[in-house]
Symmetry: C2
Subunit: 199 residues, 2 copies
């Protein structure tokens, strides 16, 4: 745990002010509930089975939330980059063992809020109920779209959609990570890319 920088504070308020307006007292109180943390590439934020004790706002870097199946294959349920909130929500809310692993794909800096502090925040500044409802709404809609695409599209269509919708992310990720998100093998993604490049 390191000291909160001015830059990271600015960044999180930039995110928050898109949804709710805070006065000075509310803003200061919110900041007092946060802790800063840095993760080296490949370092874990959460391991399956541990309890997720914080919700995490990414100031800089890239995280992935994933599982490992019975055959040892990784499956990525979400990536997180700057401005995203990440965590294992179920584990966080119920303080029960986590379903997911979360680790850093780049050196990453996050701001953390504990469950106790978030509960306190909701109680003292109820506006934050609204903030997290809005964040959740967006995440819910994005997830529903992904479910629909997984049902409706071929791997090729999903890949094309991914690079169109997230050109920024595609730059930062290895093909292995992209394939683990799309639900195909790295070998097949390589074949798709070859085929598409020949068109």
């Amino acid at each position: 745990m390191t000291h909160l920088t001015k830059m990271s504070i600015d960044l999180i308020f930039q995110n928050i002010s898109r949804h709710i307006q805070l006065d000075k007292t509310e803003a200061d109180f919110f900041i007092s509930l946060l802790q800063s943390k840095k993760l080296k590439r490949k370092e874990f934020l959460l391991k399956q089975g541990d309890t997720c004790r914080t919700e995490n706002f990414i100031v800089k870097g890239c995280l992935r939330t994933y599982t490992i199946d019975d055959n040892g294959f990784e499956h990525i349920v979400m990536f997180g980059i700057e401005y995203w909130w990440v965590g294992d929500l179920f584990s966080f809310l119920t303080q029960s063992p986590a379903t997911y692993f979360i680790d850093a794909l780049e050196d990453t800096e996050i701001l953390q809020i504990s469950k106790a502090n978030l509960d306190k925040l909701f109680e003292i500044v109820p506006k934050f109920e609204r903030f997290f409802r809005l964040i959740l709404q967006n995440a819910f809609i994005a997830q529903q779209q992904r479910i629909n695409q997984n049902l409706s599209y071929t791997a090729e269509q999903r890949y094309l959609d991914f690079i169109t919708k997230h050109p920024d992310l595609e730059q930062r990720l290895s093909q292995k990570q992209v394939s683990a998100y799309l639900g195909i093998t790295p070998v097949f993604l390589s074949m798709l890319r070859k085929k598409l490049s020949q068109k």
Copy 2:
């Protein structure tokens, strides 16, 4: 639009009181914002391209939210039964054309709240921000689990998981609907069932 019955009012308060507590004035105000509607089996609540003007609480019956792909196949992103809220959230929030079709798989009764009335509700009884945040949290977690299963499991595993987790639903749905939810063809589901029954 029909009159709100005592039964449907009781049912929605049963749902709400699991998350927030209301006094008489708040409860009466909430009820004044609702409208009741009945749908016959096969009737549409929403069609792709139309604007989703209400969020809908199911009092009785069963709805499905789905898309139709370029080849005319239906893909179900969610079922809704008693106590569930359904709608096309993106279309509802932005009042833009809907992505999804929603229709009734059984004769169904719902309670509806319009966007204007929900906005008013949040303003006058902010506790409802919390209520919808909690509803959304649960829906988000369930969707994330489904994404993970679509990535990690074979069709057989997903089917077994579905009937274990939703034995009630399985009873009420045709195999065609179940297959459109699992992301496989009705033919393949039939083959799976035969194989499993022989074990």
